[in-house]
């Protein structure tokens, strides 16, 4: 078992999906332990892959394994796995988080209907996600890309008895589909220019200047459209908060840690193309910045725990895109990894709260839960500190690096804007923690019935909590070497341009200051956690508050566009169909036939001489016509 057999990681959950989907309901415990077993096996196999990968050494990277897929005429399509440091990071993140979420789900989903189906789709999702990060060609990327989208759709709409859940599932699917069409167009454009789907060959040809500049820019922008849709960047961000209708462990796995970072992953994978097409990186940066700031503001006024976390996820994805836009895929992948750990921890923590308070996720009715749920509270605090960027939690190191990268790259403006987004992040994270876990409980009844979650739920929290504390340290070259890597994570990923990690005290100080401003600002406003305080804040500037609560009217705008534009257009099309196509075309031709038959039937007199006359005149007519035509 080595890196050449990496496809096994995905094949095992895929097989388990088939097994669980067909027979899950007949198995004891509905087969949940089989799901954990399959993903656990992938998790263990990952370390074999990692060991082999490190063993063969950087001179043999990437490790590629391909087979013939299909031959169409002279066109040979190959499919295969492509394992390089970026893939290794993704494989590690996906298998780790998926395993934790699977274990957590056993506790969280207990007694839910369609229990086996939930675990089956989780398997399918993990398989598709692992295929996605290992794919060596864009066609495979697109296939698994759609497959994870389908899993997301199925799991958001898991409680399909609830209308809001089905609506959210549809919204997620359609919104990402808009981007996916762009991705597909981009893939076709790249294939047309290069004649291959293989990612590395496309990059080589682009770097050799074989693709026209404008052409490359346009196709890269189409691909990026797909990345924006999947990673919920403005203006496609609207689906992710609604996706919180799904079961909370799903939000942790799919809508925080793995699937939504597929856009970041694909952009990182294709970053050489973005670099060749000058201007593309600037677009990536601007999209990331706008998303980080807007969603940071939107998160301020949310009162639903999961919605706050959803907006923060979108914001953090924006941070990753800013890192990519600065030309630093290593930092983006680093932040992706740390974010996956602390955000899945936060989501699982909120899941623990929701399940303990009998499906209560409104902050206005929670509070003071730390005393009741010490393990959840403590691990949640670790996640919040990491999200805010407090040293030495994981989020600090990666966020610090992103700020550093933007400062070097843009020379100022992006750095300032991103710092503002970071302050917002720290602010709403603190608000979230204070209003959920501290102060006096706002709803006594909810509070009294709350209890700490069972071990099967707290264990993943503790494991992810530990990762949240230590994962950021892999930035240090010493730590990386001690673990057997050729250096810290940036050196590991950025092999072509090894950069030594410097701990910049000034920047770290600024970064800590940024987190501090946000945290203390929120603490000053919300400390004590009374409803009056938050109500007073809302009344301080009602116009601004409305703007934030309504999420900058993005949803209202889309709704209006759909109502006026799409429905208006559909109305015209329906009118055309009804009156022109149906009434005039279909019914009209039938009526003409019927009416002319009604008129012409009187020719049928029943008198033989009339018919004889008809025949005679016909013959004469034909004879005359023949003479005229012949001349």
């Amino acid at each position: 078992m080595g890196a050449h057999q990496a496809w096994l990681l995905a094949a095992i959950p895929a097989g388990m999906f088939v097994l669980l989907a067909l027979f899950g309901r007949y198995l004891p415990r509905k087969g949940d332990y089989l799901g954990v077993l399959a993903i656990g096996t992938s998790f263990v196999l990952f370390f074999f892959v990692l060991g082999d990968f490190l063993h063969v050494g950087p001179q043999h990277w990437p490790i590629v394994e391909t087979i013939q897929w299909s031959n169409i005429g002279s066109f040979h399509l190959r499919m295969g796995t492509f394992v390089d440091p970026i893939t290794i990071v993704m494989l590690g993140v996906v298998t780790t988080v998926a395993l934790m979420v699977n274990i957590f789900s056993i506790g969280y989903m207990k007694g839910e209907p369609r229990y086996y189906w939930y675990f089956a789709v989780l398997q399918l999702f993990v398989a598709a996600m692992l295929f996605l990060v290992m794919a060596d060609n864009l066609l495979m990327v697109y296939m698994s890309w759609e497959l994870v989208g389908v899993c997301s759709f199925l799991l958001i709409g898991f409680y399909w008895e609830k209308r809001s859940a089905t609506e959210a599932a549809k919204k997620a699917f359609i919104t990402t589909r808009v981007g996916d069409v762009g991705l597909f167009i981009g893939i076709i454009l790249l294939w047309k220019a290069t004649g291959t789907f293989n990612i590395q060959e496309i990059i080589q040809q682009a770097q050799a200047g074989q693709i026209g500049h404008t052409y490359l820019f346009v196709s890269v922008m189409f691909v990026f459209l797909g990345c924006m849709g999947k990673s919920a960047q403005v203006p496609f961000h609207v689906w992710l908060p609604d996706a919180m209708e799904g079961p909370t462990p799903v939000s942790a796995l799919i809508h925080a840690a793995t699937m939504v970072v597929a856009g970041v992953y694909l952009t990182a994978r294709l970053l050489p193309l973005f670099e060749v097409a000058s201007g593309a990186l600037l677009v990536v940066t601007i999209v990331g910045l706008v998303t980080a700031i807007l969603t940071g503001l939107m998160a301020l006024a949310q009162t639903d725990i999961k919605k706050v976390l959803a907006y923060s996820t979108v914001g953090q994805l924006g941070f990753m895109f800013v890192a990519l836009g600065s030309g630093r895929p290593d930092i983006a992948m680093f932040h992706l990894m740390t974010h996956a750990f602390f955000k899945s921890l936060l989501f699982l923590g909120s899941g623990s709260v929701i399940s303990a308070t009998h499906h209560n996720q409104e902050m206005d009715r929670l509070g003071g839960l730390w005393k009741k749920m010490p393990i959840t509270g403590t691990t949640f605090l670790a996640g919040c500190l990491a999200l805010s960027g407090v040293i030495p939690f994981a989020g600090f190191w990666s966020k610090d690096e992103i700020l550093h990268a933007t400062e070097t790259w843009s020379g100022g403006w992006a750095f300032i804007l991103l710092s503002f987004a970071a302050i917002l992040t720290a602010f709403y994270t603190t608000r979230l923690f204070i209003r959920t876990f501290m102060g006096e409980p706002k709803d006594r009844e909810v509070y009294e019935h709350t209890h700490e979650s069972p071990l099967v739920m707290t264990l993943p929290l503790i494991f992810l909590g530990i990762l949240t504390c230590v994962a950021g340290l892999v930035i240090w070259n010493g730590v990386g070497r001690a673990l057997g890597f050729p250096g810290g994570i940036t050196e590991f990923i950025f092999l072509t341009e090894p950069e030594r990690y410097h701990f910049d005290w000034v920047l770290a100080g600024a970064s800590i200051g940024i987190a501090g401003v946000g945290i203390f600002g929120a603490a000053w406003l919300y400390w004590g956690n009374s409803l009056e305080k938050s109500t007073k804040l809302a009344e301080w500037n009602p116009g601004l508050y409305q703007l934030l609560v309504r999420k900058f009217y993005f949803d209202d705008f889309y709704q209006a566009v759909i109502d006026r534009g799409v429905l208006g257009f559909s109305y015209i099309v329906a009118w055309f169909d009804r009156y022109v196509v149906n009434d005039t075309g279909v019914d009209g031709s039938a009526q003409i036939t019927g009416y002319s038959g009604y008129i012409l039937k009187y020719l049928q007199t029943g008198r033989v001489p009339n018919y004889a006359m008809g025949i005679a005149l016909g013959v004469v007519g034909l004879a005359i016509a023949g003479l005229v035509v012949r001349g």
Binding site: K601, Y602, Q604, G606, R607, V608, P609, A612
Partner: protein, 102 residues
């Protein structure tokens, strides 16, 4: 030798007489007789062309024999119909047998 045109003119005259009879007469038996005239005009044409174009071949004559055969069958059938018509309606006027219409 009589030129071909004479036969054709004679044939045309007989055909026109037959056509006039079919169109103008109302008595079913007379219409049938007129139809026979037309058929015979056609047969005459066949024979004339056959003799003039290639006397060694008998194509036209065979056609004429076929026409006579068909005419005989047709008359047999048609007269039976006329008899049935007369039995039912007590008339052989075709104008009065006009129920098969719109």
């Amino acid at each position: 030798m009589v030129p071909l045109s004479n036969y054709l003119v004679l044939s045309a005259i007989i055909f026109s007489l037959g056509a006039y009879g079919v169109l103008a007469r109302r008595n079913a038996v007379l219409i049938l007789m007129s139809v026979e005239l037309m058929l015979n005009a056609v047969s005459l044409n066949f024979i004339a062309f056959a003799a003039y174009l290639d006397p060694t071949k008998v194509t036209g004559a065979i056609f004429a024999i076929f026409v006579i055969t068909v005419a005989a069958a047709e008359v047999g059938l048609a007269l039976a119909i006329v008899i049935r018509l007369f039995r039912n309606r007590a008339t052989s006027n075709v104008d009065e047998a006009a129920t098969l219409k719109w």
